[in-house]
């Protein structure tokens, strides 16, 4: 089926082919990061009145899911942390470059980092601390610099960055994807420039891989080593558009596609599927940690274990919940396999059926983030004013009553709609998988599991909010 190519649109195509387009996209987020660092370190340490906490925990996350739903992984494209590339190239002159260990060339390291990040988010109440949020931003820049200095460029994005991998996973539901206009052209392509990069020298065209030091007009290839005609998924695509600029045949398209359906045909590796499963259960826990039953559970667990150690209780809750999620998914996928008469290994079963979690994970996070974003979107105006006032700029008195975008009673119906859409997309994925096996009962089994999870998520979102930093109330 022929679908529209966004790069054929006059302004968009021209902009993304321009070699400084990514830099232009990065500048606004870099300025936001600078202001967040300044206000986070120097401004008032009250989260709703500080630019660091409001911009990071409300607007960044809100716009991120919105961009993924409407277009794609624009926040990786505009990631200001990739501006460390200049300093890393300089540092690489003096330092050795290592190969990223083979054992870590998968998503398991990212899964571990994501779990640690989620633990840190709750344990240190990152959302409530401008100072820690500023340190998080600074730390992110630092780690990006160190990893991409000591290892090949793109290592940080593909194998380390929890945020980037969160974006990759959720962007599997996006309505756009990079692909080849004509795969025949790629077959004839002598240099595979989209992945190897291109340099136009006085002696002719070369790949950056074969002539990394060559003088001439340089067009880097894909940072995460994706070869355009083989791209089936948005996983690992940062939308940096390097491939668009590196292809000398103008054969890269950014095509529209049916949103939420990628997981029906893409063949993900098992580590990628586990990342999708984790993000659903982690998204659930992130929302659950803001409602009263969570605190009741923590009190109960505290009595049961005879401890008030918050780190221990939090770790126990997270490990039990995600562990239960992984085991249940494994069990349901195996059962679905058996019902459909397939005797594959348990991991193959998860690889086959677990892809339905991708749209569910997106819906879980989008539903949660939509609540915070729509509740407090306008608060970015007074916090920006306050941060600029602190810098001595005459921007007027902040109006702290600016906050909500929509009436409060719209929020829950909107969250329900988002989760239903996620379930609808997941059902389509399961339907396609079941049709592949010609066994719809198996698909129905997994659907029942998803339905129960969504029902549980809706129950969590229906609870009154309790925004508390401490797991247990003081005795």
């Amino acid at each position: 089926m022929r679908t529209p190519d966004l790069l054929r649109l006059p302004l968009i195509g021209r902009f993304f082919r321009w070699r400084y387009s990514r830099f232009v996209l990065q500048i606004p987020l870099l300025l936001v990061a600078f202001l967040a660092l300044y206000d986070g370190f120097v401004g008032r340490q009250l989260a709703p009145k500080n630019f660091a906490t409001v911009s990071v925990w409300l607007h960044y996350r809100g716009f991120l899911v919105l961009a993924i739903a409407v277009l794609g992984n624009l926040f990786c494209a505009a990631c200001p942390m990739m501006l460390v590339r200049g300093p890393t190239r300089f540092a690489k002159r003096f330092l050795p470059e290592f190969k990223w260990p083979r054992a870590l060339r998968n998503k398991y390291f990212v899964i571990a980092l994501t779990l640690f990040y989620l633990f840190a988010y709750e344990y240190w109440d990152l959302w409530a601390s401008p100072w820690l949020t500023a340190w998080l931003i600074l730390g992110y820049f630092g780690v990006a610099f160190v990893v991409d200095t000591l290892f090949p460029e793109g290592t940080f994005c593909k194998y380390v960055c929890p945020l980037g991998n969160f974006n990759f996973t959720l962007s599997t539901v996006s309505p756009t994807q990079i692909t080849a206009r004509d795969p025949e052209v790629c077959l004839r392509c002598e240099g595979k420039y989209c992945v190897n990069g291109r340099v136009e020298t006085s002696s002719g065209r070369k790949t950056l891989r074969e002539a990394p030091e060559a003088e001439g007009l340089r067009f880097p290839g894909c940072e995460t080593k994706l070869y355009v005609p083989q791209i089936q998924s948005n996983m690992d695509c940062t939308l940096c558009m390097n491939c668009v600029r590196a292809c000398p045949y103008d054969n890269v398209a950014w095509k529209l596609r049916a949103p939420g359906t990628e997981a029906a045909w893409a063949r993900y590796k098992i580590d990628v599927v586990w990342l999708g499963v984790l993000l659903f259960f982690a998204g659930f826990m992130n929302a659950f940690a803001m409602v009263p039953p969570y605190y009741q559970l923590a009190e109960g667990l505290s009595k049961l274990l005879g401890t008030r150690n918050e780190a221990l209780l939090l770790s126990t809750i997270y490990v039990l919940w995600t562990g239960l999620g992984f085991l249940l998914t494994l069990g349901v996928a195996m059962l679905a396999d058996r019902v459909s008469g397939v005797r594959a290994s348990p991991l193959k079963a998860v690889r086959f059926w677990g892809t339905g979690f991708f749209p569910l994970a997106f819906a879980m996070w989008a539903g949660h983030y939509a609540f915070h974003f729509l509740t407090g979107w306008a608060s970015i105006i007074p916090v920006t004013q306050q941060a600029l006032l602190n810098l001595g700029l005459p921007v007027g008195e902040p109006d702290w009553t600016l906050a909500a975008l929509v009436p409060e009673n719209w929020l829950y119906p909107l969250q329900v709609a988002i989760l239903y859409l996620g379930l609808l997309a997941a059902s389509y994925v399961l339907f396609r998988r079941a049709r592949e096996r010609n066994h719809f009962l198996a698909g129905g089994l997994v659907f029942t599991y998803f339905f129960l999870l969504v029902a549980l998520a809706l129950w969590v979102l229906a609870q009154p909010m309790e925004m508390r930093g401490t797991l247990l109330l003081p005795q």
Binding site: R44, P48, W127, T375, S379, E466, G469
Partner: protein, 116 residues
């Protein structure tokens, strides 16, 4: 270049808005441990301060929530009261008291509490 940056930083920090003197005040609630809903706030200050106004702003510790604002009214020498402050959500609250005296001098105090 370094000198220019340093000078700019000094100038900008000199322009920072003043946050006010710390307000020495005793803050009590009725009921003593507020729950979701309305609660009375009693603020006791040194009567010699001759305050003309005390404003109370309640923020949740999570960004994005609409602050609750209230004006305290005088209820005796050195005693100010907010009759029905609306703790409209469970969680951690930060109350910011901003007071002004006859000369227009600003005083501030922050009170943190958890509303279960």
């Amino acid at each position: 270049m370094r000198r220019v940056v340093l000078l700019a930083l000094v100038l900008l920090s000199a322009c920072r808005p003043k946050t006010g003197e710390p307000l020495e005040a005793e803050v009590r609630f009725v009921p003593e441990h507020p729950t979701v809903g309305k609660a009375e706030i009693c603020i006791e200050v040194d009567p010699r301060l001759e305050l003309t106004r005390i404003k109370v702003v309640g923020d949740m510790t999570h960004p994005g929530m609409i602050p609750v604002e209230a004006e305290a009214h005088p209820a005796g020498p050195g005693l100010w009261r907010v009759d029905a402050f609306d703790f409209n959500m469970r969680g951690d609250w930060v109350l910011t008291l901003t007071a002004y005296d006859k000369q227009g001098k600003k005083y501030t105090k922050e009170v943190r509490l958890t509303v279960p």
